[in-house]
Symmetry: C2
Subunit: 152 residues, 2 copies
């Protein structure tokens, strides 16, 4: 992970569809060299995936909610996680410090669907209680951060 790798990552964070030739021009290497570097970044796990970022409303997901979960003292955390994973509405899942073990970000089409999701969550074994906040609007999301050199 030298300076060139960092700029490659930054460039691909900004536009994942840049060609290797274009990346090569930007960082001042040849295309095959860039190809190999990017391949290593992928296989070492630095680059996890390339995703198109889609406007949620246009695919029928107008409602965003953030749901905190308090775990049942009896339940198994892995089972709870597995249950969450099976709910496709849950886009993100964080395991949190504090009384509320999980924070979920969910997206659904309507408030009615959100209600159904919350009911399903509360019925899930291992879930003691939920607390839901509704996002009225998403100001921005997943803004890429500028990459800093390793503690330089």
């Amino acid at each position: 992970m030298d300076a060139i790798d960092r700029s490659l990552v930054a460039l691909l964070q900004g536009n994942a569809r840049l060609s290797y030739a274009e990346l090569a021009r930007q960082v001042g290497l040849s295309a095959p060299a860039v190809h190999e570097r990017v391949g290593k970044l992928e296989s070492s796990g630095v680059i996890r995936a390339y995703r198109a970022e889609v406007e949620p409303e246009s695919i029928g997901l107008g409602v965003t909610a953030l749901i905190s979960i308090v775990e049942d003292s009896g339940g198994d955390t892995d089972d709870v996680l597995e249950a969450f994973r099976r709910m496709p509405e849950i886009e993100s899942c964080y395991f949190m410090a504090g009384v509320e073990s999980f924070l979920l970000k969910a997206r659904v089409g309507t408030i009615a669907e959100l209600e159904q999701l919350i009911v399903r969550l509360n019925r899930t074994p291992g879930v003691a209680s939920t607390r839901t906040g509704i996002a009225l609007s998403t100001k921005w999301e997943n803004r890429p951060q500028t990459i800093e050199p390793p503690t330089a």
Copy 2:
């Protein structure tokens, strides 16, 4: 936005670097047709961007926090937002229903940096108070949802 557009969006959500030729094979059209459709999806705002998804730890961002903000009754919401936008650590910003007007997702390198961020937030005009939860681990994030036909 017909069925073909939906599968194009789904394919690009899964892998934004698919070639037009490959997309064309998957949806059963010619490459120029796919090129035009994707172009329209981009310019109509359905596809906002193509991003490489990067493992945060590998770029020195090991600490994830979710911060709720209570707004000062005197402050202007737009000014607060503008201040948040200038803090690159804040990856996502939701405007919420409820007492806590904003929910921020922030990523920093160390707890010390998180402390500094919270101090800066509390000093921001228009911010009455903050409440911070620390994510011990990210189970998953921004999982793409399967796209449903428009209320069919």
